[in-house]
């Protein structure tokens, strides 16, 4: 077994409870915030973030250092920081694990991000399924207030900051930045195409920084230990930091592990998940949630980082690895994923609203033995149309379908030629 690898975000994770404020401070928690606030140096935080090449952990991988810099120095006040704890990408549960482990690390991270852009209000947007995490956050925010870590004049500085927890009513699209901003304003959460970008005109038309839970949680550590240390955590030279991978499906031990970016997929499965379930054979996986494409046995040893996946036309996404074995019908898997996108489409634009049910129909017919060879070009064309939808939901939704046709063409053809599913015989 390789490793052990350095633990940063989940180092003090306990099986059944959070790290308390006292324990967090004992381990050096809130020291970064203290130092930054007493030195009054917001520019240094921004510079360190940019050097650290911290890529957004919420799925899109946008550099966090660049995002904070897009809030102009002379931008109007008030400004907002939104922590995206929606985590509705199927297969993803890393933020849930983290929130039940280290709420104060997140509170400190949000506050540091807020200080760097001089935001006075923070909001944690959380899905309704995570009610227990929402309550933990509310309680710990209250404790941080009482200890002077939030509120007026934190650490005796001029900086005042508050955090509210906002519960979603529950829809996948609310995870998308512009939809989330609508949701927070009590507006039906359809996305809105930028510009203006949220960092320019976001919540209530004011500059708003939106980042994922895991991204924000990295900030105190980067401030404490520096950009170079963060980069050195990763195993590949292009990557930086650790990643919370959540692995589910046909492995013996599903779960969430903090591992260096660039770790091999095979190592994650064999050394951290107890290998394939019941001695089955690895057939493929989704590397980062339902919005990424299928990897195959050919990618079994791929380095799990943003660049390596981009090179094979895929994405790291949320780091939610969903594993399939040789008994799994990939057409069936794709049908389930497409049902998700058909149901969760916000309905705002026609290609997405109409396209997913159309694709679902073709895929179901293939699965049921009514498929024809000319379905394949029809599917490809429709996927191309979906790339022209209004937001990133639809391109994410066709990722599995497009990769099914490319990476598992033989299996699709076996359905069509054999007039049915070869796995159901």
């Amino acid at each position: 077994m390789s490793g052990p690898y350095p633990q940063v975000l989940l180092k003090h994770r306990k099986p059944d409870r959070i790290t308390t404020l006292a324990e967090y401070r004992q381990a050096g928690g809130y020291e970064a915030l203290h130092r930054v606030l007493t030195s009054e140096d917001a520019a240094a935080v921004k510079a360190e973030l940019a050097d650290a090449v911290l890529l957004g952990r919420g799925g899109a991988g946008f550099p966090a250092g660049i995002k904070v810099q897009t809030v102009a120095e002379d931008a109007p006040f008030p400004r907002y920081v939104v922590c995206n704890a929606d985590e509705m990408e199927p297969g993803t549960f890393k933020d849930r694990v983290f929130l039940h482990a280290e709420p104060h690390m997140l509170i400190e991270g949000i506050t540091l991000a807020a200080f760097s852009i001089r935001a006075a209000h923070g909001i944690i947007f959380i899905r309704p399924e995570y009610e227990s995490a929402a309550r933990i956050l509310e309680r710990e925010i209250g404790i941080a207030h009482r200890e002077g870590l939030l509120g007026d004049g934190i650490f005796g500085s001029e900086f005042s900051f508050d955090i509210d927890v906002h519960r979603s009513g529950g829809r996948y699209i609310c995870g998308e930045v512009t939809a989330q901003i609508n949701a927070l304003q009590g507006i039906r959460p359809n996305p809105k195409q930028p510009p203006p970008y949220a960092t320019d005109k976001g919540l209530w038309g004011q500059p708003t920084l939106v980042n994922n839970v895991e991204t924000l949680a990295c900030i105190p550590h980067i401030v404490n230990k520096g950009a170079q240390w963060f980069k050195d955590l990763a195993l590949t030279p292009e990557a930086a930091g650790t990643k919370l991978f959540c692995i589910s499906g046909k492995v013996n031990k599903p779960g969430c592990h903090e591992l260096p970016l660039g770790i091999k997929l095979s190592e994650i499965i064999e050394d951290f998940c107890g290998g394939m379930k019941d001695g089955a054979t690895f057939k493929g996986c989704l590397p980062g949630g339902a919005s990424t494409g299928f990897l195959t046995v050919d990618h079994y040893h791929i380095a799990m980082d943003f660049d390596a996946l981009k090179k094979v036309g895929n994405r790291l996404g949320t780091g939610a690895i969903m594993v399939f074995d040789h008994h799994t019908c990939m057409v069936d898997v794709t049908i389930n994923l497409t049902e998700f996108f058909a149901r969760e489409s916000c309905g705002w634009c026609t290609p997405c609203r109409e396209g997913f049910p159309y694709l679902l129909d073709l895929l179901r017919r293939i699965e049921n033995g009514q498929g024809e060879a000319d379905f394949l070009p029809m599917i490809k064309t429709m996927c191309q149309h979906l790339w022209k939808s209004y937001c990133a939901f639809a391109p994410g939704g066709v990722a599995s379908i497009e990769s099914l046709i490319v990476n598992f063409e033989d299996e699709v053809m076996a359905h069509i030629e054999g007039r049915g599913c070869p796995f159901k015989k």
Partner: protein
């Protein structure tokens, strides 16, 4: 009936924020908890409190998975039907549940105890197959564990 105490409590919460409508989901949730679902009556009351039109609120209410515009049972069971739960025998579990409760997805039992609704991945794929009962997670489930759960909930409400 809309108790004065609840109304005042919500009004106070709304008064504390800069924009009343940012409280829309919280107000809907509170009224839903009170009435059991987000009824037309509740819709009107929420609209008054939030200074929004009933239509604006209905645009929200009809969009979200966890807001019920029709009466639901005492226990709302949301069954995850996304990839991992489905792969881990979720389909049989759904069939078992429908059979056991003698209702289809989307229906409520005659005694008003249980409503069955599908839901997308609830973020507990490490505990698949998983369900939510009134937003509390249960998993990984077997048919036996599911039977026990239903029995317990039935007992608790007699």
């Amino acid at each position: 009936m809309f108790p004065e105490s609840l109304k005042n409590e919500l009004q106070q919460k709304i008064d504390r924020v800069a924009h009343p409508r940012e409280m829309a989901i919280d107000v809907i949730n509170a009224l839903q908890d009170h009435y059991g679902y987000f009824s037309d009556e509740a819709l009107g009351q929420a609209a008054d409190l939030l200074a929004m039109t009933p239509l604006e609120l209905d645009e929200l209410a009809t969009f979200y998975t966890f807001i019920y515009r029709e009466p639901v049972g005492k226990y709302v069971i949301h069954v995850c039907d996304s990839l991992i739960c489905w792969m881990e025998n979720g389909e049989n579990l759904v069939a078992h549940l429908c059979n056991r409760l003698d209702i289809q997805m989307g229906e409520t039992t005659a005694d008003g105890l249980f409503t069955l609704l599908p839901v997308c991945c609830i973020g507990y794929c490490d505990r698949a197959p998983a369900i939510l009962v009134n937003r509390m997670v249960h998993g990984p489930l077997t048919t036996d564990a599911l039977d026990n759960l239903i029995d317990k909930l039935r007992e608790a409400s007699t």
